[in-house]
Structures are given as structure tokens and as C-alpha cells.
Symmetry: C3
Subunit: 229 residues, 3 copies
């Protein structure tokens, strides 16, 4: 399948785009940088990169990437398959991202972040890394599989958000969040288990893979349905 | 009056621009989408769309639109006259906006929002819609006429902000806000009536239409002056 | 040294770029405006302006400017040397900025701000100016030399943040912050002196110029080293 690149976009040397990739208007891919670990940008099959986006060299991204508009990805990000990056998101690079991760609009990922699989990050979330700004003491944030960080939350340096945990909107996450727990507030704290949250229909809202299947591959949805049958 | 489109900008089929519209550089208007209810983008007379902005199909906007730079408007927004959208604002579509609404920079409008007339939204405000993220239980936010949401506030799903109410900076709006009341904090609460807030000159600051008239049409300003004479 | 301008970028009349300036793709410099105090944009030597950035007329900036992508600078900003403006930052103009100031990504500077020398501002910080929005009672924020405002904080109108003070992440700054003090919370308050914060190695973290020297000129670093020897 052919690669489709809008004629206004700039593709630097060293960029590899898999079969069926589409690149919108006014993008710049493969920006060279002395901070990049290598002079290549590797993007898997079927990517859809929307207009005004900028990717530096040194990153490697799996199949099925989908971005909004005006996304920035700096040097040295390693990301898995089916990664979604919302409009205006700003990934500072030097980070790792698992499979099936979804960032909504305007997410800011500080260097050193380690993001698992099936993680959700909502608008205006910041993953920080400097406990004593400005300093050279960088400590990235870890988000484990299936965790969710809701809008306008800040995760402080070195914090680990456990598997399936939910950080509520506008929370300042100062300490580790245990798996499957709810963390809210500024300053934030654990306020219970995600098990107590219900959907409108009365069914449990978490783990969200019980009910939320939009856009995931059939084999994964089948597995999730079997898990909660 | 002629329409003026910068030669670098991309105008897809189905875009209708009223008399006297101006479109800045590096814009893309009428992006086709399977999510759009129709394949048109209709923008009234005298619009000024600044550089790097992106509008999808399915939206209809009245006269006098004015945008900052790098604005995004997704599918199926119905908006009134004299709409101002600040730089970097991100409207997710599937929403309605009244007349004379003003968004400052970097406002994020989730799907399902219902925004009245003469509403003000300040930078980094998020109108959410998903009470149990991620889920399909979407509940849009309602902002009634003359209401104001100050900078860095988050309005939670399904909340109604009453007519003339003021949400203070960095507030997490968890419940409905009565008309003409002040709501602040995280978690937020009603802390009084807007009637107690004064301008520097000692006059009442609210309803703001008593004193703030910059950029409104003469007939409206005359009406407001008569109302508070 | 030659000036290098990407062929896709738009340079309006009245723009002066010093020796060795580089301008990335899809930028627009010197946007004319009736709000500008003059019809010029003056940028000193060695600037590096990254892609998709927009600068209006009426501003004057010293040597060594460095910007991220998609930066906006409106009318009438006076800025010193070695100014760094992160990706997506939005400077509303009518403000002053000292030497060696660093804005990280997505900083919003309201009109009337007075920013000293060696100031750090982190992502999603808003400097406001309107105590009774919307109104014409504008009161800019003052940030004194060496002060630091951490991510997602809002500084309310007319507030002065003292020299060397640290505003913690997600703080709502309602009153003046004394020099070398720590201010945190929503609503925020002073919680102590920066002297009590240590680096990982046990050394004092503040004043940060004791230990953080990345990117500053040799003569300044030598002076700082002598100060704390």
C-alpha cells in the first residue's frame, strides 16, 4: 500500500514510513537533532499523521499510529502499536510507550516517562520529571497498564501509577497510586477502589476493558469479553 | 466584498465562506471526515481565521467569526454570530455555541457542550463529557448566557453553569452552579453571589455587561446601558 | 553570518533579524497589527525560531532567542538576551522580559506581565491580568529575578513573586510571594523557605544557580560558582 504525503510537508532524510502511511499538510518529519540517539525516525504501517505535526529523529513507533493536529514528538521515544496522540500533544522524548496507548488532546509527557500498555491520558495532563526545578535530578513517571489519568492532572517526578488505577480530574499526584485505586485532589490522595464506580446502567465502570471496546482489534475485544463473561 | 485566502492555505470542496472573509496562512478548511453529518463547512460573513487553523466539515458558523492562530474545530459544531476563538483552542465538535461567545486562548471544548449567548471562557479551561473515562456515557456541559469560566478550570460532565455565574480560576466544577453565583476551589463550591464583587472604581463588576462593552455592536451596548441606567 | 529562513516561511516588511538567525518552516514573522506600537519586529543575533511560530510587530528581542515550535508572540513585548520560549507558548504581548529567561512548553503570558532576569516558567502556567473577568481593570503579574513557577500554576492579577521564590506545581497564587519562599496549593500559601529543599545528593537545591548551569554563558557560571564557593 502506497505512502501518501501531502506535498506541503517536509520529510528529512532518515525517515522510514511503513506501508499505507498518510501524512497531512504542513508537517515536518525527521527533524535532525544532536540530542537524537540516531539519525532515523521509524514509523510502522498504516500511520495517520495529521497536519502541522513535527517529529524529530531518534524515535521508533509501531504500526497504526494515529495523531491529531500539531503534535510534537522530540528525540528518542520508543512506542508500540496503535498509539494515538491527540491534537497539540507535546512529547518531550526520551520515553517509552507500550501498545494501544491513547493520549487525548494537549498532553505533555516529560522525559523519562515509562508508559505501559492500554493507558489513557486525558487533556492537559502533565507528566513531570524534575523534583527541584530547575535541576539535573530527573525522575520520570511510570504509568502501568490500563491506568487512566483524567484531565488537568499533574503527576509529580518519580511517581508510579498502578495498573488499572484512576487519577481523577485536576489532581496533583504526589505519591504512588496502588493498582485499581482512585486518587483525587490537590494535594491528592487515594480515596477508594475503582470497583465502587458504576456506569449509568449500573454495571461496574472499571476495569474499563469490561465495556469500552471502541477501536480495539477484534481479537483483543474477544479476549476482554471472555475475561468478564 | 471579496474573500481573501492566503495562497498557502488549503480549502477543500464543500466550504462556503461569506462575503469579506479572510483566511490566514497554512490553514486547512473543510477537512472531510466520516464523523461529519454533512460534507459542508459554512462560515458567515466577515470571518477572520488566523494562520495554522483547521476546520472540519459538518459545522455551520454565523457572521463575524474571529479566530486566533492554530485553532481546531472538529465536526458538527453549530455556532452563532460574532464568535471569537482564541489561539490554540480545540473544539471537539458535536456542540452548540450561541451568539457573541468569546473563548480566550487554549480552551478545550468536549463533545456535547451547549454554550449559550455572551459566554466567556478563559485560557486552559476544559469542558469534559465522560463521567467514567473511558466510556460511552457522554454527558455534555451546559454554560448558560453571560456565564464566565475563568482560567484553568475544569467543568465535570453534565454540569450546568447558570446564567451570569462566575467560575473562579483553577476550579473543579463538580455540581451545578446557580445563576449569578461565584463558584471556586478544588473541589469547588458556591461561595456567594457575584453581586458582592466590585471593580477598582467601586462599581459592581457583575453582571459584566454593566461596564464591559469592548467589541460589541452599538445596538447591544445601548440596550445594556439602558438596562443599568 | 548569514540569516537562514526556510522558504515556506513568511517574513513581512519591518522585520529585522540579526546575524546568524535561523527561522524554521511555516512561520510568519512581523504580522502587522493596529495594536502594535510600531511596525517593526526586531530580533537580535543568533535566534533560532522553530517551525509554525508567529510573531507580530511591535516587539524587540535581544540576542540568542531560542523558540520551540508553534510559539505565538503578540504585539509590544520587550525581551532581553538568551530568551527561551517553549513549544506552544502564547505570549499576549504588552509585557517585558529580562535576560536569560526560560519558558518551558505551553506557557501563557497575559498582557502587563513584568518578568525579571533568570526566571523559569514551566508548562501550562498562566500569568493572568484581569481580577474581574471580563473587565478593563488589567493588573499584570510581576516575577522577580531567579523566581520559578512550576507546572500548571496560575498567578492571579497584580501578584508579585519575589526573587528566588518557588511556586509549586498546580498552585493558585493569590497573594505576593516573599523572596526565597515556597508557595503551594489551591488556594495557595507560603509553606517555608526554599533553603530547606535538598537535591538528591544532599546539597541545597536553591538558589538553583548554585548547581544548575546548563546552557548559561561561561562568565555567568564562573560568577555563580564564585558566589557559592
Amino acid at each position: 500500500m502506497a505512502v501518501e504525503i501531502h506535498p506541503t510537508s517536509i520529510i528529512h532524510p532518515g525517515v522510514e514510513l511503513g506501508d499505507g502511511c498518510r501524512v497531512g499538510a504542513f508537517c515536518e518529519l525527521g527533524v535532525p537533532s544532536p540530542l537524537a540517539e540516531n539519525d532515523r525516525l521509524i514509523i510502522g504501517r498504516g500511520a495517520h499523521i495529521r497536519s502541522h505535526s513535527v517529529f524529530y529523529t531518534g524515535s521508533k513507533i509501531g504500526d497504526g499510529l494515529r495523531t491529531g493536529h500539531r503534535v510534537t514528538v522530540r528525540e528518542n521515544m520508543i512506542a508500540g502499536d496503535q498509539f494515538q496522540i491527540g491534537t497539540l500533544s507535546d512529547i518531550q522524548g526520551h520515553c517509552s510507550v507500550g501498545d494501544h496507548v491513547r493520549f487525548h488532546s494537549n498532553v505533555h509527557i516529560g522525559q523519562g516517562a515509562k508508559i505501559g500498555n492500554f493507558v489513557f491520558i486525558f487533556p492537559y495532563v502533565v507528566l513531570t520529571n524534575d523534583p527541584t526545578p530547575p535541576s539535573e535530578d530527573l525522575q520520570g513517571v511510570t504509568l502501568e497498564d490500563y491506568s487512566i489519568v483524567a484531565t488537568m492532572s499533574v503527576v509529580l517526578p518519580g511517581v508510579r501509577v498502578g495498573s488499572g488505577a484512576l487519577v481523577g480530574a485536576m489532581s496533583l499526584v504526589k505519591g504512588d497510586v496502588p493498582p485499581d485505586s482512585i486518587y483525587v485532589g490537590n494535594p491528592g490522595k487515594v480515596v477508594g477502589s475503582t470497583a465502587k464506580i458504576k456506569l449509568k446502567n449500573g454495571e461496574p465502570a472499571y476495569p474499563w476493558r469490561r465495556h469500552f471496546h471502541r477501536g480495539y482489534p477484534d481479537d483483543i475485544v474477544r479476549m476482554w469479553k471472555a475475561e468478564f463473561a
